[in-house]
């Protein structure tokens, strides 16, 4: 008998006990994402229907906030990833000398 054959039992127990959770089902995730995309689309369209009070002309551009949010977010992540090259050290970086 292979000694490992004792251990797969744990996995079997887990499979029996583990129930299906909400996001384990890929269909639920897809549904969630589709609703999210729909809301994004709706919000963009609303810009053409409602009038936003704006302090500056460029703030009045349709989709200003939507585009700003998207670009700001991407920029943030891209710059942060670049910062990693410069700033990232091993986890025990400070512990070595102290």
């Amino acid at each position: 008998m292979n000694w490992q054959s004792v251990r797969p039992g744990e996995i079997d127990v887990e499979k029996q006990e583990e129930k299906q959770y909400l996001l384990d089902n890929p269909r639920n995730v897809t549904l969630l994402l589709r609703v999210f995309y729909a809301v994004c689309g709706l919000l963009f369209v609303l810009d053409f229907i409602f009038h936003r009070h704006a302090t500056y002309d460029w703030e009045q551009l349709p989709g200003f906030y939507a585009i700003f949010g998207f670009v700001a977010f991407v920029l943030l992540v891209v710059v942060a990833k670049l910062m990693r090259k410069l700033l990232m050290r091993r986890e025990d970086y400070y512990d070595v000398d102290e």
């Binding site: 906030y65 700003f68 949010g69 998207f70 943030l76 700033l87 990232m88 091993r90």
Partner: protein, 566 residues
């Protein structure tokens, strides 16, 4: 009920004393009673204008000065203390219970202090009590982080005292009102407040020590220290232009660190600085709208930031780990904690109907009114950034993302109750902001829920979230890695120690070679002297009576000479 002049810190200090000698249900009852009764007393019995002055050694300490500004912070500190006491009830740790109560009491003492000396006393009490919430983790990392925390905070206290004395020389008053930057004392005091408020380059005590504190300690710490600093800035330096730019930098730089940080409580610490930035900015603008925005944001921020720290503390308590790279899928075993965390995340992201929205809008509107376009754009960028680290990263990597396989229990009931109260308050402030607005110190007619604000904010947040989804699906999102990211602390944890070590080595070598050369020379000189006729009067080596007598005669002679001249 009671005399209205009872300073609000008294019930907390009393409860702390009694907590030392009680245990079990009795201590729990005492701990809950202190913020509850104290808060009710403050709400019902203490009108605006209440003052209490105590004379101590011919000096008048104003222990209590209740106006709308100090009362607002008094209310929120009581609410937060009440929630946090419930959150820590499961602990069997006298140190943390006592330190927590003294800490909350000191924060109230500082907020109601009417003069700079009283403020200084509570400023120091805040430090000495709060550091025990870090040391209570009882490991080496925490004790070292606690020492660094102490160095920063004590320096802040020293600067405050020095600044107060210089300010007194120039103005002849120690009253804690508008201070400004007219004299050097004002600059020192601003620096003291700035350390506590985590100004850029003075901020590392926060991101260093808070994540090393106990699971419950970080939530407690997140409430008081920095918000006392916001209060003191709002009282001492409203309308100081410099603060607008400091605040803008504070909103922007921490979010980059938060994106790449792995420890979720450190992510929240960076996010804490980002939120302080909005308040500091509002104080810098100094109009009624902006100042209201700053203090209102402090009010709602205390609740949602404590809520986020509490939910991360619950994970740490149950799982023993708070690294984003190792967590995920926890919503399966901790669904209620996950829900509360999402409420906190929605609030900090300033989603309409949550508390962050109704307070942040005030600051943003004030910036537009005063024409600070660039700063406004920076804060708008930071608002989208908040969504990344606090709004999405914290709940997503903690509770969802890829299932880590960790299965644990839901948080203890007292933790759930505390998080539940905070979550309800976040939503309540969000949907009924008029109650918060009514408490604000300055008269302003403002309503955040109009088409412009709601639509703009929703677009900003949803499209930022869309960017997250897009990058997550495409795999552009930065992976969560076990790593340390260098921040300003590198200066004093790496550069200076290394330099100091090098200087020490060089100095040691120099002193050794020069000492050797010195002894060579003196030995040669000594031998030369010994060969002359005076050699027999030398004192070292043997002790001949003759030389003793000679030297005593010399000393007596010198003494007489000095006496005669005198």
């Amino acid at each position: 009920m009671w005399m209205s002049e009872l300073p609000p810190f008294v019930p907390f200090f009393l409860a702390a004393l009694l907590a030392l000698v009680t245990r079990g249900p009795l201590r729990m009852a005492l701990m809950v009673a202190a913020p509850l009764l104290g808060g009710l007393h403050l709400w019902f019995d203490v009108p605006v204008g209440t003052q209490l002055v105590v004379s101590l050694l011919e000096y008048d300490l104003m222990l209590m000065r209740a106006d709308k500004l100090s009362l607002l912070f008094g209310y929120i500190f009581h609410i937060a203390a009440f929630i946090l006491v419930i959150y820590t009830l499961h602990l069997r740790d006298t140190l943390q219970h006592v330190a927590g109560l003294v800490y909350a009491g000191s924060a109230l003492g500082a907020v109601f202090a009417g003069d700079l000396i009283t403020l200084f006393i509570f400023w120091e009490l805040l430090v000495t009590s709060s550091v025990f919430l870090i040391w209570a983790r009882r490991n080496v990392r925490a004790s070292r982080a606690g020492m660094r925390y102490l160095v920063f905070q004590v320096s802040s206290g020293v600067l405050l005292l020095a600044g107060a004395l210089i300010h007194y020389r120039y103005t002849g008053s120690l009253a804690f009102d508008f201070i400004g930057l007219e004299n050097p004392g004002g600059w020192l005091i601003l620096l003291a407040f700035g350390i506590k408020c985590a100004f850029p380059f003075l901020h590392n005590w926060l991101t260093d020590a808070y994540p090393e504190s106990t699971p419950t300690g970080a939530a407690v710490l997140s409430v008081f220290t920095t918000k006392v600093a916001v209060y003191t800035l709002a009282r001492g330096f409203p309308g100081t232009d410099l603060l607008i730019y400091i605040g803008a930098v504070m909103t922007c730089f921490p979010i980059f660190y938060a994106v790449i940080e792995n420890d979720l409580r450190r992510v929240l610490s960076y996010s804490l600085i980002n939120q302080l930035g909005f308040m500091v900015c509002g104080i810098g603008i100094g109009t009624a709208l902006a100042l209201n925005g700053a203090v209102a944001h402090a009010f709602s921020h205390i609740l949602y930031k404590a809520l986020l720290f509490m939910s991360m503390g619950a994970i740490l308590y149950r799982v023993g780990n708070i690294n984003a790279s190792d967590l995920g899928g926890l919503y399966k075993s901790m669904p209620k904690t996950a829900l509360f965390c999402i409420v906190g995340a929605a609030s900090i992201s300033a989603l309409p109907l949550f508390s962050g929205f109704v307070s942040k809008s005030l600051v943003m509107s004030a910036l537009l009114q005063e024409g600070h376009t660039v700063v406004w754009l920076m804060l708008l960028f930071a608002s989208a950034g908040v969504l990344h680290h606090a709004g999405i990263k914290v709940p997503y990597f903690g509770f969802f993302a890829h299932d880590s396989g960790i299965r644990t229990q839901e948080a203890p009931r007292n933790m759930l109750l505390a998080m539940g109260i905070a979550a309800v308050l976040c939503i309540l402030i969000g949907i009924q902001p008029q109650y918060l607005y009514a408490l604000l110190p300055w008269e302003v007619d403002y309503w955040p829920y109009d088409t412009t604000h709601v639509l703009a904010q929703l677009q900003l947040l949803f499209f930022a979230a869309l960017a997250f989804v897009w990058m997550e699906i495409k795999g552009y999102a930065p992976p969560e890695l076990h790593a340390v990211n260098i921040d300003a602390e590198w200066l004093y944890r790496k550069l200076l120690p290394n330099r100091a070590r090098r200087i020490y080595h060089v100095a040691r070598d120099v002193s050794q070679t020069s000492a050797a050369a010195f002894y060579r020379t003196t030995n040669a000189f000594e031998q030369a002297v010994m060969k002359t006729r005076f050699g027999r009067f030398h004192l070292a080596g043997a002790w001949p009576t003759g030389s003793m007598v000679l030297w005593i005669a010399v000393i007596l002679g010198a003494y007489l000479l000095v006496d005669a001249i005198h």
